[in-house]
Subunit: 561 residues, 2 copies
């Protein structure tokens, strides 16, 4: 093999997208000269498992760089097993597009050299945002992105009593759990009035708020940080509302794409600030590709450019880049904004457009919240999940789903993501032949129930209000009758404050007792009976009846026990 005759491929960034590109390309092309460069020695690590390392789920940080078979993915691994060169401790300084060269500096001796490429792949990832506030450089104030930071946090945790997390996004929430598991007092400060603001609607996020508080997290919403206090080492975080002692402050307010090299080289950036790419993941320079957290993606539903940096997307894009480098023409299909996160005993997932997203592109979204057991209600260990589905009124096209619960959430998100990929209507979703056995689903899966409930709403059969909407009406002082149609035994166990009990079995005989002059909101445990009560009342001539979506199971506010 004569290297001089071979194509030279240089990949900048040796984590998810970069390594995927190089590994896949080697499988497709035995002769290309492939070099991956990375500033860090810690290449090919999993960033997503770092919170689990902090939580103590495994002992050795190097696990995040190991294959399932236990091999460390270091330079030797890539040379011997994967068949290409990984240059670590090697910073890319600039790209000379005219000369097709990348200038590098070796961090050990400071020496610089040029590396020639025929094609270049930018997989430079993201960089955590740090708030430009006084004290942000104190020791003990740091984000969690690198293995070094994980090791540092792990060390701080060993002696810390209290931690403040700034930001209620994915990493902030995972770290809230991790730090509680390690026994710390944890305050989570979120600037917005809800966590997971880009992923969940307020009502669904409220279920997460309840879980965080139940697990002892001091959750402070709509409370921006003003400064970090301490002498060299951080001691407290200051907001307008208070002072929160902290031996450790985790900065988790988000990330931005690492685009310095691309910008300096004159490559086009997109509206999101990430590197603009075409469907083949090519930048504005056809010899340069970009993939992973430094690149923008297209939302499959809205057609808009979006920035949703995730390892799942990075891996898919890396494969697409490699295929294109190998001479196949393959398009990256875009994303749906699908994501999942575990927060204590709650599973959380979402995909597609929110109602707000959908309105922005001119659709008329209709949403509905339902609550169901995740598997057959007769099978031991079933747990509730709350599903919010959104569809377009006119076309009945499914637009998105948000799912939260202690039961199995990811399955429903993935089914919806698949349905969204192919433009399914809500009617089609309701009839997919999903697999059924009691340990896995009800005969009507939770998702089928959710889809049928939304069809009822679209068809004008059901009229309903979400818990958030009911709470808003109550807060505004609107007089309404919260009508609990469950059994007395269920009522004794747990109640909505202010609700009136009238079991569904006697409702038909007690219609005269109900007021005609105000909104009646029937509900039950999950609101199947609430819906039936709405129909009975309407069939009896009551005109102002809307059942409570998801019933008590989806009610994120106070309950009486």
């Amino acid at each position: 093999m004569n290297p001089s005759s071979c194509r030279r491929i240089v990949v900048i960034g040796g984590v998810a997208a970069g390594m995927k590109t190089a590994c896949r390309l080697r499988r497709l092309d035995a002769t290309a000269e492939i070099t991956v460069i990375d500033r860090s020695r810690d290449i090919s690590y999993g960033a997503c498992p770092l919170p689990y390392y902090i939580a103590g789920l495994y002992d050795d940080l190097s696990e995040v760089r190991r294959t399932p078979a236990g091999a460390l993915r270091d330079e030797g691994f890539f040379a011997n097993i994967k068949g290409f060169t990984a240059l670590t401790g090697c910073e890319a300084l600039r790209i000379d597009r005219d000369q097709h060269q990348v200038w590098l500096r070796r961090l050990d001796d400071g020496s610089e050299q040029a590396l020639a490429y025929d094609q270049l792949v930018l997989a430079t990832g993201n960089e955590p945002l740090v708030p430009p506030l006084p004290g942000n450089d104190l020791d003990g104030v740091l984000p969690l992105k690198t293995m070094e930071q994980a090791a540092r946090i792990d060390k701080l945790v060993a002696t810390a009593h209290s931690a403040v997390i700034v930001g209620g996004g994915l990493i902030g929430l995972e770290m809230a759990e991790a730090l509680r598991l390690r026994g710390l007092q944890v305050t989570l400060l979120e600037m917005k009035d809800q966590v997971l603001a880009t992923a969940l609607d307020f009502g669904m996020a409220s279920l997460v708020h309840r879980e965080l508080r139940a697990k002892g997290v001091n959750l402070r919403l709509a409370e921006p940080v003003r400064r970090f206090e301490g002498q060299g080492r951080v001691e407290a975080v200051i907001t307008d509302q208070g002072r929160y002692p902290a031996d450790l402050v985790l900065i988790a307010i988000g990330v931005r794409p690492a685009v310095q090299l691309a910008r300096a080289a004159g490559l086009e950036l997109g509206p999101t600030g990430a590197i603009a790419v075409n469907e083949q993941m090519q930048t504005s320079d056809p010899a340069i590709y970009a993939a992973g957290d430094c690149a923008e993606a297209t939302d499959r539903l809205s057609g808009k450019k979006v920035y949703v940096p995730l390892g799942s997307t990075a891996n898919k894009q890396g494969r697409v880049v490699a295929n294109n480098l190998a001479g196949q023409t393959e398009a990256f299909a875009g994303i749906l904004g699908s994501l999942a996160v575990k927060v204590f005993d709650l599973n959380i997932g979402r995909t597609g457009l929110s109602a707000e997203d959908a309105q922005l592109i001119g659709l008329e979204p209709v949403s509905l919240v339902t609550a169901s057991p995740d598997i057959a209600h007769l099978y031991p260990g079933n747990k509730p999940i709350v599903i919010k589905l959104t569809a377009d009124r006119a076309s009945r096209r499914l637009l998105g789903a948000q799912v939260v619960g202690s039961g199995v959430v990811d399955k429903r998100v993935d089914v919806v993501a698949t349905a969204l990929t192919f433009g399914a209507t809500i009617d089609q979703l309701a009839n997919i032949d999903l697999c059924y056995a009691p340990p896995y689903a009800g005969a009507m899966d939770a998702l089928h129930q959710a889809a049928n409930a939304l069809r009822n709403k679209l068809d004008g059969l059901a009229d309903s209000l979400s818990a958030a909407a009911v709470q808003e009406k109550l807060a505004s002082g609107e007089e309404l009758l919260l009508l609990d149609v469950r059994s007395p035994a269920e009522y004794d166990e747990v109640r909505l404050p202010g609700a009136t009990l009238l079991p569904l079995g006697v409702l038909r005989h007690k219609l005269a007792e109900l007021p005609q002059d105000r909104l009646i909101v029937p509900f039950c445990k999950v609101s199947l009976r609430g819906f039936e009560a709405q129909l009975i009342l309407q069939q009896a001539g009551f005109t102002n009846v809307r059942y409570l979506e998801g019933g008590i199971a989806a009610w994120p506010y106070e309950l009486e026990r």
Copy 2:
């Protein structure tokens, strides 16, 4: 409300499809006179949970008739809560289509009466097949379909030492687990050479065979029953190979549609023997609908009429019938043959066409088996799953999936079922934006890995053999080199009999040691490295190399430890 002015709807059969029809119709139509009749007093029970009752997962058999809120679904429940009449203990004798009447006999007093209908719904369900063998009427030989049978089996189990299960279908397997949990010696006799013959290919079923045997089931394949022995009460089951003592014999060889009424009324039966229906679930008499286990369905992929009686389908069809009765025109979309079953610690699911099914309709199926952890390999508690995907060579359309493993199976089956519903290609499947976080999936989900592996095979990049195919070659005496490319430590732990160790890291340097004259079958734990070894060998000029699909994780035969 004046009943004489109302439409009269009669539903024969008050379990899944019948009750769903009646409940849904009442929601759509406040005035129709709806009557459900059933021979049994045990209406609206869940048949699927009966094996779990036998297993002891809940104490009270009436649980299978209760709502999630605990209400017993009896005549009063349907009258007061659902708003229609359920006539139990009432056998439908015949249908007089000219007079639009059903003749009934009350089982308590033997009286007969005619019930007039404007529209009739047949939801007569299935009846278990009983083999026409000597002794099939002995006490203790029975199927499991009704609550009565469940109670009888439960009572027999209390004093039984050994049981024989005849048939390795869904109920047979669930009952094998249930009876082992209850401490019985269990022999399972299956006429065919594999269990789940209509659901799984032989190789995938072999994983189930291993699990059954590991859990102490005496699994006897290709061994038809000849007769049942005993004096009044069963004592043993006799085959050509042996005599199996049995205090209880569960007959689980399948079911047939209960179509006596329909046949006697001259309604058309389909090629499957079930009641022929159009898309609206109307029989050959437009005033008569059929739904659930008595009706045929259309396979969405092959377009063929099929008979796959399942509670999930019955519920969907019941809703479609009700919608049509209420004046909407709705088509039942057909089925994919999706199903799931838990057998001890193994989760099993499938959807779509097998390779054999696909060949029958003129396609050229290509299948591949992969093995992966079900969630991120770094996340504690991850477990293996084995996925067999099938796609059409020319169109690259996804055709079906079979998934077996101790990890999460149903999610992958449901994603494939959804993809199949919309005619996805294998390439589209590989790029669906499924939700990702380590507790739920790898960055490349097991399904993405499976899809990409099959794409590699379709593209000619990968060449592979299933475990079953390798086993066949070995059994036929073909000389081949089973090349284990794992690490020595992994090799020490578990080995394929006869395999040669040559770790992937040194493979490139030891090519001279390998034979050129015979098939080389590289493999590893899951065969990602096996695939890489195949590429290295091919790139080095070896022409006869096919990796072992799914590696050791998918190998259902003997392993050395």
